[in-house]
Every structure is written in C-alpha cells, then in structure tokens.
Amino acid sequence: MKIGKKWLATLALTVGVGLMVSACGSGGQQASGGGSGSGAGAGDKVFVVGTDAAYPPFEKMEGDKITGFDIEVVQAVADAAGFKIEVKNTGWDPLFDGLDKGNVDLGISAVTITEERKQKYDFSDSYFDANQLILLPEDSPVTKLAELKGKKIGVQSATTGEQVVKKAFGDTYEGLKGYDDTPSAVDDFFIGRVDAVVADNAVLQDYAKKVKDKKFKLVKDDTFEVEHYGIIVKKGNTELLNKINQGLKTIKENGKLKEINDKYFGQ
C-alpha cells in the first residue's frame, strides 16, 4: 500500500502544520489581547501590570499566584488611586517589550531608576531604596568590589549588580558571569563556580535566611550608590504616571507603604 502510506504522511504533515499555525495564531492573539486599551470607558479599564516573578522577596510565584513586596505595593497604589490592575508574570525582557508594544501598561519588578533606562521609559517616584551587597566566603579579606579584580563575579543579568561590576571592571569584563536569576548565581557561589556575587541587599538577605547552614558574609561597599526602585510606564504615558504617583503619595502618607515594608523587611 505505497499510495496509502504517502497519503497518510501528507495528511499527518498537513494536520501537524495546521495545528502549529493555529497554535501560533491563538498564542499571538492571547499575547496581544490584554490591555491594549480599546476605547472603553476609563472607569472599567483594567491596567496590565508586568513583572518578572523570579526575584524574591520582591516578586515570586507561589503556586500559580504572583506574590511579593512589589505586588502588594502596586495593589495598594492602584487601590489608593482608584484604578483596577491585573498582574501578569511576563518575565524581565518581555516586560519592557510589552511596555513598548502597549500590551503591558505598567511594570513593577524591582526596577532601579537609572539615567539609561529613563531615556526609554518613564518612572514613577521611588517606592523603595536598595543598595548592592557583595556575597563573599566567610574568611575573605575583601572589603571593596575593586579588590575582586580578576575574580569571577556572579550577577543577575541586566540588574544594577551587573552595572556596578561593569562600571568597576569594564563592559566586557571576562570574569563577569550574568545569570538569569539571583538564586542561580548564589547557588553557583556556594559550589565554587564564582568567587563572589553582587546583588540587591533585600534579595541576598532574603536568600541568606534560607541557607543558614552555609558559611558566607555580606559586605557593603560604601562606593555603591543607594538605588531607588520605581514603577515603570511607557515613555510619554503621563496620564497613568500621574495616577501612580498620586497613589504612591497616598500610601506613603497613610503608612500603608511602611506597613508592607515592615511585613517584608522588618527586623
């Protein structure tokens, strides 16, 4: 049955390709379905919040729910300013991409306000101050980042930690190892793949709580500037930005922000 076989193969191929195309089609639609503001009344518009839910304690996945400091802050801001939000785990890169394309309205993902980023996006006022810490072996004599020259340093790609190391040792420093998330960098530090990790204090301290049995120390380099986290919107979206800033102002004044802060970072 030669013909039969050929025919079957063709059928299978057609069905396969058809499925793939339709899957792509629906996938594409799903991606662009959210929040590309149609002319609906502003009252019932739900703003899409993008985040990269792999940065505990700021944002993380608990089962299928996105939780964390940032998520509570953005919810409080929205409540205070009186708009509805829907939080989506977009991932870091697609978050910025989504802002550009308009299928994400605002982003909160422990984004540090930097001059470079300000050129492309608009930031709200700051809602959190962070500084970078260096994770080192317990017996390390190092007190400043500069002393780590020539050593392998783990960072989370595209974070301020990475920028700090680049500023110290150059954009293409060979010892710089960019990871997709901070815990991976920390894990590799503990098995000796990197000599140090530079990351946000809150993240490192949070992770350090989990690995109490390991030996390490966290060093603060005084040359690192304090950073400010901001909520990010598409450049020129002043209407939404004003709402966010108004909400932020409210929760700063009524103590809600401090309450969330204490819940996560209180001693």
Binding site: E162, D171, T172, G192
Partner: protein
Amino acid sequence: MGLNWGVISQYQELFIRGVQNTILLTTVAVVCGTILGLFIGLGKMSDRVYFKVPAAIYVELFRGTPLFLQILLIHTAVIPGIWGLFFPEAKVPEAIFSGFVSLTLNAAAYIAEIFRAGIQSIDPGQMEAARSLGMTKGMGMRLIVIPQAFMRMLPALGNEFIALLKDSSLLAIISTPELGYAAFSVAKNTFERYPPYLTAGAIYLVLTLFLSRVVVRGLEKRYSPK
C-alpha cells in the same frame, strides 16, 4: 525606528569571545562525540546484550529528550553532584565545562546512529572477504569496514556539526560565554533587541555557511569513495 547599532561595538569583545567559545565548544563536542559515538554505535550493533542494551538506552535517552533539559540537568545537578561526591574540596567547574559535557553526550547519541547506519551500509561481502583473508572480526571492522563507513558518514557528520553549532546557543541559559549568551546579555543590558540578535544570527549564518561549503565539501571531495 531608530536602532542603536553602537551597542555592538561597545560590546564587541563579548561577541568575539562568544564566537571563539562557540567554535571551540562545537569542535570539541564533535571530536569527543565522534569517539564516544563510535563506541556506542558499535555497542548498539553488538550481539552481546550487556553492550547492546545500555547503548540503545543511551541513544534513546539523549535523542528523546530536549537538549535544553540535558544542559540544565548536567550543569545544575549532575556535575555539582559528581563533584560533591568525589572532589568535595575542589571548586565545581564552570559553565563552559558543563557545555562541553552536555554537547558531547548529546552529539555522541546522534553520531552513534550515524556510525551504525554507515557501517550497516557497507556490503557484508567486505567483511566476508576480510574474514576469508584470515582477519579476525575486529580487524575486519577496524581495517576494512569502518574506514569505508567513515567516508559514507561524512555528509551526515557534517550535518551534525552544523546542527551542534546552532544548538550550542542553548548554552546561553547556563551563562556559558558563547555567542548566544553574548547576544542575550547585550539585549538585556541595553534594551536593544534587533542589533544584538541580528548580529548573532548573521554570525551563526556565516559560520554554518562556511562549515557547509568549505569544511564538509572539502572533506567529501578528499575522501569520497569515488
């Protein structure tokens, strides 16, 4: 739409290092994978169950699961595990080592099949002739069958080389400093999308074209059975 191609020159070193590592990783994986693949291929054709079964399982496992997962498993679990057991004092080797290991193991499975097909395509009369000259089975394999099979395998091996070169970009996920990682890292840090990815794509294209034109054709011309 303004594209900032300046980021490429700003991070040029990253791309250069990336290309070097991509070529190095692929070449080592092909060489080691060929040696390993020969043994696994022979194992699969062996009459002895204790060679045949493990070899068959190996090939199925590595061909039947995504390379992406193999890389993650080997890098984050297998290698640290082995080091923890056998060299607890030593530092676990870096991502590039995991890259060598995972690409080699993966390539070996595919190359094993290429070897098997190549050897089975040689007329059984060749082996019979070798045996009738008084050679042992092993000698016949080594001196008569495998050399001829190798010629026939060259196109398929060339294809595997090219596939591996492209697949090595998956190592970006474990921060192996290869070309894919360079593009990934620059895109993440500069918020520029087109320039880094298109640059990396163009470099991969040049590499694969070079491989398919020069290396594979050259080898085939030189060693083809005709």
